[in-house]
């Protein structure tokens, strides 16, 4: 116990730095996957068969294979197979590769949630808008969008909380996120070696961040409770 207290300041400092990388990956994924997911959703609902067919195929592949494999393929495939290491070797390259994999993966999950949200808005809402002389885009933005958001907040919350924990998978391509930082004290880092507790301790970072997110998303759900 004494020893842990001594190691604490150094470890916390290293974990904080790792967790910043975790947060960066988390937010970049959300910022990329929110709009991309919507585009994929519209693609999969398209009446143009080749487009909807292709989109659904992509979604099937991405959702049907492990994110960890996707990370490895996206990171190593260009360099090792195509002889064109687009990502470079450094932390920046690893971050770009990880972001790409996460954005594509999460956009596919989000697209299904969006699709459910869009299709869940009764057809009568669109018809009422049409009869009142509204344009398709007015109907989408003024009528359907908020009803859709209300519908997707609960399933989206689930995905977002899963994403926080999924960022740990980026460890597989040696992205220096919080798990990587915690694990480094096993082999030896900052003059500490053979310590397993920092790795275990990373769990608190996820737990506390997810606690905050749960509060935020719960607040949003409440905010949208004013209509039904």
């Amino acid at each position: 116990m004494q020893l842990i207290l001594e190691q604490m300041p150094v470890v916390i400092n290293a974990l904080n730095i790792g967790f910043i990388q975790t947060l960066k990956l988390f937010f970049v994924t959300l910022i990329g996957a929110f709009p991309l997911g919507l585009i994929i959703a519209f693609g999969s609902m398209s009446r143009f068969r080749p487009l909807s067919g292709f989109t659904r195929l992509v979604v099937w592949v991405v959702r049907g294979t492990p994110l960890m494999i996707q990370l490895l393929i996206i990171y190593y495939f260009p360099g090792l197979v195509l002889d064109n290491p687009i990502w470079g070797g450094g932390e920046t390259g690893r971050f770009l590769a990880a972001s790409t994999a996460f954005i594509i993966n999460y956009a596919c999950y989000f697209s299904e949630i969006y699709r459910g949200g869009i299709q869940g808005v009764p057809i009568g809402q669109e018809e009422a808008g049409l009869v009142l002389g509204m344009t398709k885009s007015q109907i989408f933005f003024r009528i359907k969008l908020l009803q859709m958001i209300k519908r997707i907040v609960p399933p989206m919350s689930n995905e977002i909380i899963t994403l926080v924990k999924d960022t740990a998978l980026a460890r597989i391509i040696a992205l220096q996120e919080v798990i990587f930082a915690g694990q480094s004290f096993l082999k030896g880092s900052h003059g500490i070696s053979g310590a397993i507790w920092p790795l275990f301790f990373t769990a608190f970072y996820y737990l506390i961040f997810n606690g905050l997110l749960t509060l935020l998303l719960g607040w949003l759900e409440k905010k949208l409770d004013y209509f039904r």
């Binding site: 009568g124 018809e127 009869v131 002389g133 003024r142 009803q147 209509f227």
Partner: protein, 261 residues
């Protein structure tokens, strides 16, 4: 000149022929009731008039202007359909109010969006919006909802919702207001308040088409009644003639079921 003329309007869904050469005309200020059993094509007829369905054949004219001619593709351009819809208003069986807006906002929304297209909107924004709000408040007051304007649809009863929906349709001053079974989704004790409002509109000579299963109401409120069966107009005429002295056997059968019930 009739305000509405429909000629040989036909519509099929797949192999089912839902409307077969419908012909009708309606004079300004008249109320037309359409009766008939479920599946007779009444609702499809209203949906065709409101451009929610595209007829396969036939012509729709309002005030002598051809809004739709199945033989003339130029009358079917998407861009012009939006404006043509404004000749008609439609009150749905299931209200279809916008849940995220208050009663007042529901009535104002479409008018506000249309006003934003006016060239003088930017210069006179405040006055225009104030005018729209005053008009919407006035309509809701006419509907007996002056104390419900800031309520959301889920806070209103079905009858109140339907009255908001009627105000919403009236706000755009349609030439012809269509009602698609406006009381069918309501509890029996709530139908009265909606029928009363429609009756008041009829008394003010609002041009209306009312699809309904309320036979007594159809007879009282309408200037003209149409009985439809299997996509055709079987019989039409003044309410007294159709209800008291139906000429067709099918009309008699249909009405007798209501008299017994």
């Amino acid at each position: 000149m009739p305000i509405l003329e429909v000629e040989n309007l036909s519509k099929t869904f797949g192999r089912t022929s839902v409307l077969k050469k419908i012909n009708l005309s309606l004079e300004q200020g008249q109320a037309l009731s359409i009766i008939g059993s479920s599946g007779s094509g009444k609702t499809t007829l209203l949906r065709c008039l409101n451009f929610l369905e595209t007829p396969d054949a036939g012509i729709i004219r309002v005030n002598g202007e051809t809004l739709f001619d199945a033989a003339d593709p130029a009358t079917q351009w998407e861009s012009s359909i939006r404006k043509k819809r404004l000749h008609f208003g439609l009150v749905f069986q299931s209200f279809n109010l916008f849940p995220q807006y208050t009663a007042l906002e529901n009535v104002m929304l479409a008018k506000k969006l249309l006003a934003a297209e006016r060239p003088d909107f930017k210069a006179k924004k405040k006055e225009i919006l104030a005018e729209i709000e005053a008009q919407a408040a006035d309509l809701l007051t006419q509907m007996g909802l002056s104390n419900r304007m800031t309520n959301y649809p889920h806070q209103l009863s079905g009858g109140q919702c339907q009255r908001v929906a009627i105000a919403r349709a009236l706000a755009l001053h349609p030439d012809i207001l269509c009602f698609d079974e406006p009381t069918s989704a309501l509890d029996p004790e709530l139908t009265g308040e909606v029928l009363r409002v429609i009756r008041e509109l009829a008394d003010k000579n609002t041009t209306m088409i009312i699809v309904t299963h309320e036979m007594a109401f159809a007879r009282d409120v309408a200037d003209h009644v149409i009985f439809m069966d299997e996509g055709m107009i079987v019989e039409q005429g003044r309410p007294l003639e159709v209800f008291e002295n139906p000429k067709e056997e099918r009309t008699r059968q249909f009405l007798s079921r209501f008299k017994q019930g």
